[in-house]
């Protein structure tokens, strides 16, 4: 997901100011056209002759699970509140109720995450995990660093039909003019769209294991490779796969050295797959019978032959203190100049290596420093048409540099999804909360 940070916020006691609410609320669903729940409980009681069986009809407290028909379109599940509880709500029997917060920390703007570029088509595609959307920009977009307004986008894909939720990795298919996004939390899907997608577009969705992050495509194999953080694997599907289409293969096991994999790049020209690893490993997460405990491994980039499957060892590993890896996240290849770009998230840097680097290799160049405006870089992509790199910060900007820029160099362009100066809480799926009574602060893990 978008960072493993623990953010500490000042106490919110007595603070009435609230950041404007975000744009995505349940009430909005009713206003989006083309989205409807269909299907009845009765339809779920009989198994269709040639279709999938219905999901469990009864869940939890005896409430009916109503499932919409799919027919190639996204499917929805409607789960009602228990009737007895709904009756209590309707009679206002329970004290409290719809209480407005005295304080609210919620960003109303997108926050960039992953990025992919199709230089020939002239577009950059960026995922937004905050508003659960994807923004598409022209590679030639005018975005001078001094401009303070939001940057004009070509398309903004969002809404329930898109199946975008915790949008993470992005990949582009320059042959079919489609882009794919992964869902890093309960979405458990890869969604596919045409380049022309906009608004609440009906995506083509594929079920994948929980915790997908990076994605890369191969025109040679007509496959997609998806990294699954939780299971420490790379899983492969047919391009344009949909529904519950089964995986073709996976790279998984102790010899792979995969541990919390993030970014993925498929280098068709050299028959290699690059994977960035944070180094966190825990088989007990998915295997209740495993009693070996979790482990911390050093961060690395692991390179596999692209026909690998099963418990395959990598053919190269970039790892060691000289690499300067500090949560290496998004990665990209420049096949012309044989370079590997790494979004070194926690160090606010882009590291550049030789494509065939191995071992405890130092980067060829390091791009980072306060003037670069690189701040929590999650994704990086190479634009061959302009010989530039785009860096997606986890927040309100993406920054563009010349390929050979290094050091503390200002960006050539700044893509803004919010007015300049807009703060970002940096939330990426906050699922826990604690109160520090000593400092009057809130602790928010992300």
């Amino acid at each position: 997901m978008s960072g493993n940070r623990l953010a500490v916020l000042t106490g919110l006691i007595g603070v009435a100011a609230a950041i404007a609410v975000g744009l995505w609320t349940p009430s909005h669903w009713a206003r989006w056209p083309g989205f409807s729940w269909s299907g009845t409980a009765a339809a779920q009681t009989a198994a269709p002759a040639n279709g999938p069986l219905a999901r469990p009809k009864v869940m939890g407290n005896g409430e009916r699970l109503v499932e919409a028909d799919a027919n190639g379109h996204p499917k929805g599940i409607k789960v009602a509140l228990p009737a007895k509880f709904q009756a209590l709500l309707d009679s206002y029997s329970i004290p409290g109720g719809d209480i407005m917060p005295a304080s609210a920390l919620c960003d109303p703007f997108p926050e960039f995450n992953g990025i992919a570029i199709d230089a020939k088509a002239g577009i950059a595609v960026l995922s937004d995990t905050n508003l659960k959307s994807v923004l598409i920009y022209s590679l030639a977009v005018q975005a001078p660093p001094g401009a303070s307004n939001t940057t004009q986008y070509k398309g903004w894909v969002k809404g329930p039909n898109t199946f975008l939720s915790f949008a993470a990795g992005v990949a582009v298919d320059p042959v079919r003019h489609e882009f794919y996004t992964t869902e890093n939390d309960v979405g458990d899907d890869v969604a596919g769209f045409p380049y022309s997608a906009n608004g609440n577009f009906h995506s083509r969705v594929l079920a994948v294991p929980h915790g997908s992050y990076g994605i890369a495509l191969s025109q040679r194999y007509h496959q997609m490779a998806v990294s699954i953080q939780h299971n420490a694997e790379i899983i492969f599907y047919r391009l344009q796969a949909r529904g519950a289409e089964r995986p073709l293969r996976s790279i998984r096991g102790p010899r792979t050295g995969l541990a919390d994999p993030h970014g993925v790049v498929w280098d068709d020209a050299h028959g290699e797959i690059f994977v960035s690893n944070y180094g966190n490993w825990n088989q007990g997460y998915w295997d209740a019978d495993y009693s070996g405990g979790g482990r911390y491994f050093p961060p690395s980039i692991r390179i596999f032959k692209d026909d690998s499957k099963g418990d395959a060892a990598p053919i190269r590993v970039i790892q060691g203190p000289k690499t300067q890896f500090n949560w290496p996240t998004g990665i990209a290849i420049d096949p012309v100049h044989n370079e590997l770009f790494v979004a070194n998230e926690a160090a606010n840097q882009i590291l550049v290596f030789a494509r065939d680097a191995k071992g405890n290799a130092a980067p060829l160049r390091v791009l980072g420093g306060p003037r670069t405006a690189i701040h929590y870089p999650m994704g990086v992509a190479y634009d061959a048409s302009h010989d530039q790199i785009w860096v997606a910060n986890f927040g309100h900007t993406a920054v563009v540099f010349g390929r050979r820029d290094e050091g503390d160099t200002p960006p050539r362009r700044v893509i803004r999804n919010a007015p300049e100066g807009t703060p970002s809480a940096g939330f990426g799926n906050p699922m826990a909360l604690a109160y520090d009574s000593k400092r009057d602060e809130l602790l928010v893990p992300n």
């Binding site: 623990l6 916020l9 000042t10 006691i13 279709g51 999938p52 999901r55 939890g60 407290n61 996204p74 499917k75 789960v79 228990p82 007895k84 709500l89 029997s93 329970i94 004290p95 409290g96 719809d98 917060p101 304080s103 920390l105 919620c106 905050n130 939390d185 309960v186 979405g187 458990d188 079920a207 994948v208 953080q229 939780h230 529904g243 519950a244 089964r246 995986p247 919390d260 944070y278 966190n280 007990g284 997460y285 998915w286 209740a288 495993y290 009693s291 405990g293 979790g294 482990r295 911390y296 926690a346 799926n429 906050p430 826990a432 109160y435 400092r439 809130l442 602790l443 928010v444 893990p445």
Partner: protein
């Protein structure tokens, strides 16, 4: 608003979207549970930046599988951790470190508890409160604090009147249980190991289905199909599917994080704490 401090970086041993965090006020320590590494990490309270934890509990003796909410018991120097995959509550020394076995584990079929996601401790009455499921239905349990092994719960709050479609974290304060009803419908497409789609799966489910979640308050003595005695729920509350929960009774404030809303919300609710400022 930007955070005042951020703890981040490779040295911290933090992992993706930790599902649990707690603060130890006695020792001024931040405690995080890290599912992707099967660990519990401890930081000095004022930590900032890419700092190493002062202690890490991790290893084959720990019984940690997928740790969720931790709970601090400073009175008895114990740390509780709900573990959702092993369906149990693990108890460690609050100052524990390394590959250590838990002091106690509450787990087994007699507990009636599966999928433990939240835990809180009542040291006044020597009880531990847990959120999870019972017979496939979401539930809130209480056990004797010193219980160990395959023991039955003292109380189980579960049923349609609770309004809980799915739970998450819990807190305790002076005889009251504060519980998150995230009401997420989680229909995982793949099996637990991520090897194959589940039988009868024909595609991913749309995320965030399920009714609105809420924060509910129960008396610790409630049992059975008991409705909450107070709730925060509705569109004005900004809550969709809340997850984390923190209490500041001293200021009559309750805080909830909402991973779907991607925000943190604070509520001024003196009546939820008994009326007057609780100092």
């Amino acid at each position: 608003m930007a955070p005042v401090r951020v703890i981040e970086g490779q040295r911290t041993k933090l992992t993706r979207v930790a599902h649990g965090i707690a603060y130890d006020p006695l020792h001024d320590v931040i405690i995080g549970t890290e599912p992707l590494a099967g660990s519990i990490v401890f930081f000095r309270g004022g930590s900032h930046g890419n700092v190493a934890p002062i202690r890490v509990i991790q290893g084959p003796h720990t019984s940690i599988h997928y740790p969720f909410q931790p709970a601090v018991d400073v009175k008895h120097n114990e740390l509780w951790v709900a573990d959702i995959v092993s369906h149990g509550l693990l108890v460690f020394p609050l100052t524990g470190n390394g590959d250590i076995a838990p002091l106690r584990v509450i787990r087994g079929n007699r507990t009636q508890m599966t999928g433990a996601s939240g835990v809180a401790v009542d040291t006044d009455h020597d009880l531990v409160i847990a959120s999870g499921s019972t017979h496939g239905a979401p539930a809130i349990f209480t056990f004797d604090r010193t219980a160990s092994g395959n023991v039955p719960p003292k109380t189980v709050i579960s049923g349609p009147s609770t309004g809980i479609v799915s739970g998450w974290h819990v807190q305790y304060y002076r005889g009251r249980i504060y519980a998150i009803a995230s009401n997420h419908y989680l229909g995982a497409s793949y099996d637990q190991g991520g090897f194959e789609p589940r039988p009868n799966c024909d595609g991913p489910l749309l995320a965030f289905t399920g009714p609105l979640g809420f924060v509910g308050v129960w008396n610790e003595t409630d049992t059975g199909d008991a409705p909450p005695r107070a709730i925060i729920m509705g569109p004005a509350s900004e809550l969709l599917h809340p997850d984390g929960l923190a209490l500041d009774p001293g200021h009559n404030e309750l805080f909830a994080s909402d991973s779907v809303r991607n925000g943190v919300f604070g509520y001024l609710v003196p009546d939820f704490f008994g009326g007057a400022a609780q100092r």
